[in-house]
Subunit: 191 residues, 2 copies
């Protein structure tokens, strides 16, 4: 599919406010890509598709995970994680996206992962800080994003972990491990 067709396809799946959020993530991801030396075309594409399955009924998201051998442990954790993995699968198998970097950035945009690529970081961070976002600490994360992608992302994950603690909800171990991995990355750069 061409970009114009993808834009229409995504807009059909996520109308209204979620579409505005996607436009915000696209804009922010492209800016971050230019700022931090990633490919803005890939950032735009991954951001466009990142929430493709977000408005689907959760049962449909779970079915994509269950029926296609995606990580089954996701189903034991917060439903918010599901659309990202389902979205990467749909992007590859139904929308014709072949670029592994783009697919991974979609797949890990909510959970994060150990050893995030530059594109993973950009899409995940753009999702936290696009202009429509408003949660405690978002201004601080936007400020940190001006000078460190990794520190901003750690602050983003911190806010997610804090939120889940406050809700007495389970926390997906990979998110914690993504945060640990970013701390190691910063320390390694310093050493």
């Amino acid at each position: 599919m061409k970009r114009e067709e993808l834009l229409e396809a995504v807009q059909r799946e996520i109308p209204g406010k979620r579409w505005e959020h996607t436009l915000g993530v696209m804009d922010t991801a492209v800016k971050l890509a230019k700022r931090y030396g990633a490919d803005p075309v890939k950032a735009d594409l991954a951001a466009l598709l990142h929430d493709y399955c977000k408005a689907w009924p959760v049962d449909k998201q779970a079915a994509v995970i269950r029926d296609n051998g995606l990580p089954q442990d996701l189903l034991d954790y917060d439903k918010e994680l599901w659309h990202a993995h389902a979205g990467a699968w749909v992007a590859e198998h139904q929308l014709g996206i072949e670029d592994k970097e783009v697919l991974d950035a979609i797949r890990y945009h909510t959970s994060g992962r150990v050893g995030m690529t530059l594109l993973d970081k950009i899409v995940c961070l753009a999702d936290y800080i696009e202009p429509g976002r408003d949660f405690p600490g978002v201004h601080n994360i936007r400020e940190i994003a001006e000078h460190s992608l990794e520190k901003a992302l750690i602050a983003g994950f911190d806010s997610t972990i804090q939120f889940l603690l406050s809700q007495h909800k389970k926390i997906y171990p990979m998110t914690l491990m993504a945060r640990n991995s970013l701390i190691d990355e910063i320390a390694g750069r310093r050493a």
Copy 2:
């Protein structure tokens, strides 16, 4: 070794304030054991030995982990975790403790683990709430401990995770997984 000899041996390793802390953990662990149906003799023994290596130089703690095939990933995380695993090894190989339940309660008293035993929970919680402890939220955890071992322990792990977040430190994944496991345990009991 008899209990009297063990008392003397521990006191030699951890004099002063830490010994008072150990006495507090012993007292609290025995009370929790009686309250929640665990063996008070095992709770007393595990609590007595739980901090055996705590006052050792961290290099000596690390050497026990490195030289005896204990989980090497511990060395990538907070030093606070090391004395527990080192202590269980020393209890087994130098102090003649053979009871696996007691050894596990020593081993996991700081990190926790998935599927904690009743004795694991009691020693870990007693370490959080013994009367000498004073940290934000400890009163709340003591109150919860009156009616739920698991909820109190979750609140304890929450306070540890909050503290490590605030310090920008890595968090040992097993601690998060211990918390997740306790949440599942409570939910399963409810279902």
